[in-house]
Structures are given as C-alpha cells and as structure tokens.
C-alpha cells in the first residue's frame, strides 16, 4: 500500500530545545563530528488505493494546515513511498 511521507522541521531561525539537548549529549560523550542537531517529525500517511494528484494535494493541504504549524515549523517534504506510487 502506498504511503505518503511528510517531513516537518522546526523553523531554522527558532531555538530547537530538543535538538539542543541531543547536541549537549554529543558533547558530553565525545561526539565531535556534528556541530548541531535539529529534530523534526516524519508522518506516514497510508493511502488505500492509488496516490492520485488529488490525494497528493490533500496530503499537502493537511501537511500545511494540520501536521505543521507555520508559525513554528516548515513542511520540508511531501513524498510518495511504496510500490503503487502514481507516475
């Protein structure tokens, strides 16, 4: 069954306290390769049937209006995964 994946990230200009906490843990455990960590959300929307343009448009709409809050977050990707993805 195809799945539409929505990725949401906190806005880059805002503090990401969760990411900051992970950065702190890296520093404490000697991980030095990464200067910053930011934590976002991945949503998997299961589609019964074909991913039509209308379904994809609906996914984009809920991504903007429900799954994210444009004041604090950005929708960075809406993509189709799974075998029956529409061309």
């Amino acid at each position: 069954m195809p799945t539409i994946v929505v990725d949401v990230m906190p806005k880059s200009e805002l503090l990401d306290p969760q990411g900051k906490a992970v950065s702190g843990a890296f520093a404490r455990t000697g991980v030095t390769a990464f200067s910053d960590v930011r934590i976002g959300k991945r949503f998997e929307l299961t589609v019964d049937g074909e991913v039509t343009d209308a379904v994809l448009a609906e996914a984009r709409r809920v991504a903007e209006e429900v799954l994210s809050n444009s004041v604090i977050e950005d929708v960075v990707a809406v993509s189709v995964s799974g075998a029956e993805a529409a061309e």
């Binding site: 906190p10 306290p17 969760q18 809050n69 004041v71």
Partner: protein
C-alpha cells in the same frame, strides 16, 4: 443577572474544575462544557482550561483546536464573547489562529512551576479591566511548552497594536520572546496566557504574599473583569 461562564473539558484537561471554582468564587455561575459537543450551552463567556489535551500529541493544543466545540468558540469569539485560554487553552487559541504566534518547549527544556511575577501591559480587555496598566501581579505558572515565539515582524506588529496583555517580570521562565506571557486579540475579548489565574483566586490556596502564606488572589480580577464585561454588554 447571573453571568454564566463555560469551562470546556477536553480529554486530558487538568484544571477545568479549578477554573469552574474560580468562576464561582468570582461571583458567576460555572457551566461545564464538553469538547465533543457543538454547543456552548448559552453561556456568556468561555474558558479553555489548562492541562495536556490529547496528551499534547502533534503539538500542544493542536488536536484540541480541531475539536467540535472549537467551531462554536471561534464563532463566539468573532461575535465578541469573552474567551480566556489558560496555559493549554492559550496553546489552543494560537493553534486555532485566534491569537498570533506559537508556543514551543521551554528553552531550558524543563517543566517549570513557580509563582511568577507578571506585568499587566494591557488593562483594556474583557479579562483585564479590573487591573490597571503596569500593575504587577503574582500568578502561578506551570508548563513545559510555554516558550512564546513569533516572527520579528509579528512581534513588532503585536507590540505596536498593544496586543501584549502580560509580560514576565523579574524572571523570564521559559525563553518567551520579548518576555511575552499573554496576548489579547485586537477586539480585547480573546485573551490567552501561560500562567494560571484560576490558581490564585482563594485565600489559603494561592501563591505566597508578603502578608501571608498562600494568600495571593491576583487571579481574581481576570474573572471579575469578564463578569463586568458581560454585564456591560447586556446593559
């Protein structure tokens, strides 16, 4: 005329009963409302209480903002009904776009609980007219996701329009931009804040004051203001 103030209970609301009690102490009749009903029960004002509605899943207040009753709350807000969002209720109001901005995890990443000093910056709203502008009050604060954020442009606009209703004073407990603790809409009927005025309405159960332990009742004017606003609108 007895003013009737509704308090909406959502799955995960914690302070709905406290808000009802505060309404009663202030001299109005509390009316329990249910998130799943498209019905405000004919109340004169509405309080969205604190808690962790829907476990704060997705974003704090986000799923509650899509509840059936929020359709009626938005309609009533547009018609000028006094609406107060406390803590999780404030988060619902921003998620419902009734107030601007957003609330994120506290900058220090911890839950915070303290008796918080606030400055009343707008004393011309339905919920603040019994204060005076610039008045300092002590209201209990308890949250993990109370960091107020908005774009610089939005912050400039809301400050310019006088929409900042309360500012954290002395200590900024959560990293809120420009020390913003609470907001009003331009009409002054919709007010939201992170601190909990309902926890400072009854001597013996409020924050400590210089006079006596737990004697703080600085939250009471929120409710008396709304009662007066309703009475004035009806007159």
């Amino acid at each position: 005329m007895t003013v009737r103030i509704g308090v909406v209970t959502f799955p995960g609301s914690l302070d709905d009963r406290d808000a009802q009690r505060a309404v009663r102490i202030a001299g109005a009749e509390p009316v329990a409302l249910w998130h799943g009903a498209h019905d405000l029960g004919g109340v004169d004002a509405v309080i969205l209480p604190g808690g962790f509605s829907y476990g704060d899943y997705l974003r704090s207040g986000a799923i509650a903002a899509l509840s059936p009753i929020m359709t009626e709350v938005k309609d009533a807000a547009a018609k000028g009904m006094p609406i107060l969002g406390i803590c999780n209720g404030f988060q619902m109001l921003v998620e419902a776009h009734l107030l601007p901005g957003g609330l994120i995890r506290n900058d220090h990443q911890h839950f915070v609980r303290r008796d918080q000093k606030l400055t009343v910056t707008n004393a011309d709203t339905a919920w603040t007219r019994d204060f005076s502008a610039g008045q300092e009050i002590i209201i209990p604060l308890k949250n993990a996701e109370g960091g107020y954020v908005a774009s610089e442009e939005t912050l400039d606009r809301i400050e310019g329009e006088g929409l900042v209703a309360f500012r954290y004073t002395g200590v900024n407990p959560n990293g809120s931009l420009r020390d913003i603790a609470g907001l009003t809409n331009p009409a002054g009927n919709v007010v939201g804040l992170m601190p909990h005025p309902e926890h400072a309405t009854e001597p013996g159960f409020g924050p400590d004051t210089a006079a006596a332990m737990r004697s703080g009742v600085d939250g009471l004017p929120f409710f008396t203001s709304a009662i007066a606003a309703v009475a004035r609108a009806a007159a």
